[in-house]
């Protein structure tokens, strides 16, 4: 077991900062997700933790020890790549055994360990196959088995589910989480998929342009976004943000409901001009604008249990519970304290 800590970590490619001063620390055994759009520096950060890229500045600690100058193999880490990076000329057995051979473990012990890892992922019957004779899901399991077999202190996972089809991805996500809980190894997981991040992470690190925008539990990230970027990036449809004077008002589409439908707390009313209605089965999405605010598009998500009839091109009285209203500074886009509307 170990923790990973970054202190003021930076990575420049020429003038461009891929990672621009990241401070974060995992807890022991934690599942930490790095989330952000393409090019936000999350993969570069992971590659620095792995030791493939040398930081331009800052310190990196694994298990309390500074590892800036240690090569990947000395960092007690294991990594699962987006492409799985299985050795194509080796059998599944050879692939899983490779890290053990590198440790000069004896044959009998290797056999035992490989069997253990293969059983863990249910791939015992595939040991004699070559990677190209495996399906995507099987390859992913082999990659995971190869990662766990030498019992690393930290797991690094780089979008390991992105090459699977949607159905397989859901079940693989479930298995991955169960497996991580069982072995309790600190895990850092990179993804651009917010659903994956919300579903898997103990905590999520939201990154943008090489900078950490927020670190928090999925609940924090979703309900208490630190700035408008996090607010927009997490959630689908994303948080409504409308401007008035010097602030931005944010609220989630599912909290924006016809007056009288929401719970008992105090609520703020809005006059909502609906321009379009989208029927999605479980939900109805209503698109429109708010009177008294900037004319950004606002979305309301009505569960099918709300049967109020709504038509396009009409104006309705909608409301949001006051505790669900988030305020952001219009200039800095950072979260500010609630204020009267």
């Amino acid at each position: 077991m170990a923790t990973v800590e970054a202190r003021g970590l930076k990575k420049y490619y020429g003038e461009i900062a891929a990672v621009d001063g990241v401070d974060l620390a995992t807890k022991d055994g934690e599942f930490l997700v790095l989330l952000g759009p393409s090019g936000c520096g999350k993969t570069t950060l992971l590659r620095m933790i792995a030791g493939f890229e040398a930081p331009s500045a800052g310190e990196l600690l694994i298990g309390g020890e500074i590892v800036n100058d240690l090569p990947p193999r000395a960092r007690k880490i294991a990594m699962v790549f987006q492409s799985y990076a299985l050795y194509p000329h080796m059998t599944v057995f050879g692939n899983i055994a490779f890290p053990l051979k590198a440790q000069r473990m004896d044959r009998a012990a290797i056999r035992k360990k490989v069997d253990w890892a293969a059983a863990l992922f249910g791939i015992g019957h595939l040991l004699d196959r070559k990677p190209r004779a495996l399906s995507g899901g099987e390859r992913q399991r082999v990659a995971l088995a190869r990662a766990v077999v030498r019992e690393p202190a930290v797991f690094l996972l780089d979008e390991p589910l992105s090459n699977l089809d949607a159905q397989l991805r859901a079940s693989a996500r479930d298995e991955l989480q169960q497996f991580q809980r069982r072995i309790g190894t600190t895990t850092i997981y990179v993804t651009h998929d917010q659903v994956e991040a919300m579903g898997l992470g103990d905590r999520i690190v939201v990154m943008r342009a090489g900078v950490v925008r927020q670190i928090g539990t999925p609940r924090d990230i979703y309900h208490e976004p630190a700035d408008t970027f996090v607010a927009r990036f997490v959630g689908s449809p994303s948080m409504n943000l409308v401007r008035r004077d010097d602030y931005l008002l944010g609220f989630r589409p599912e909290h924006f409901l016809p007056r009288g439908v929401q719970g008992g707390g105090a609520s703020a009313g809005f006059s909502f001009k609906v321009t379009r209605v989208e029927y999605l089965g479980a939900d109805r999405l209503l698109y429109g604008t708010l009177a008294g605010f900037s004319d950004e598009k606002v979305i309301a998500r009505l569960p099918s249990t709300v049967s109020v009839s709504i038509d396009a091109e009409k104006t309705y009285d909608f409301a949001v519970e006051e505790k669900e209203l988030k305020f952001f500074d219009a200039k800095t886009e950072l979260r500010v304290a609630a204020r009267p509307l």
């Binding site: 090569p71 050795y87 440790q103 190209r132």
Partner: protein
Amino acid sequence: MDAAVKSRPPPRAKATGVVLDSPRWLGPLFIGPAVLYIALLVGLPFVMALYYSVSNTTTGGQTLGYVGLKNFAGVIGTPKFQTALKNTFVFAAISQAIIIVLSHALALALKKDFRGKRLLRFFILLPWVAPISIGTIAWLWIFDSTYSVLNWTLRMAGLIHGQGFMWLGIPHLAMGSIIAVHVWRQLPLATVILLAGHGSIPQDIHDAAAVDGAGFWRHFFQVTLPLILPISLVALLFGLIFTFTDMIIIYNLTRGGPYDTTQVLASLAFYTGIAGGDLAEGAAIALFLFPLLLAVALAFLRIARRTEVI
């Protein structure tokens, strides 16, 4: 425009249109020049050589009589031929062994990112691009009996005293010199082929090996080498065939001397058939290794196809 005119194009344009639109004509039209080229400049001489090798023809003579395998039988027993045959294999084996090791090392080095990498790659490729005669003339000076820069360097380094080596005058040194020049000349191509092979290995695989704890040797021998083996075999095949059939370095450096001790089959065939005028015997010598080369080529291509790549 008048519809009647439009529907009746001039007959000439129609004819070319038919040819260009029809795969039946277009295919042969495109492939024709290549087939003609190979048939006339490779196929015909090859067939002629095949016949010459079983005839009694000479460069000046008018006769073209069939003599069966007499040329082969006659030449095989001669010490000259046996030396050349032995030299051919020694030349090929040693030079290819050196090239394999050096080209892998060079490709590994050039794969890394560093300043001036492109310039260095260009310089390394130069021996392959430069006309071989010019290169060899420079080497002639390096190996010169009186002005040898090699001897001068050795003398200055205090390693030898007095005259120095007759690089091209002593059989083993001459062979060594020829191999050195051949390696110098072939190394670039092998390196470039291997670099292409390295480029086809995804970086993730190397990263995985690094994380999995493989050191330099394990990484190279268990991950990198198996993955570029197919393309290495192609490089080796090119090298072998080129070495077995090339004589230009020997021609320029030693003319097969001293006393035919650096003759290989290709150069011996030239000196016997063209310079010596015995076309028939020259053809027999030249064709002697053809079955072997063909077998080697087929075997290599088969292995390369079977070897698993990504």
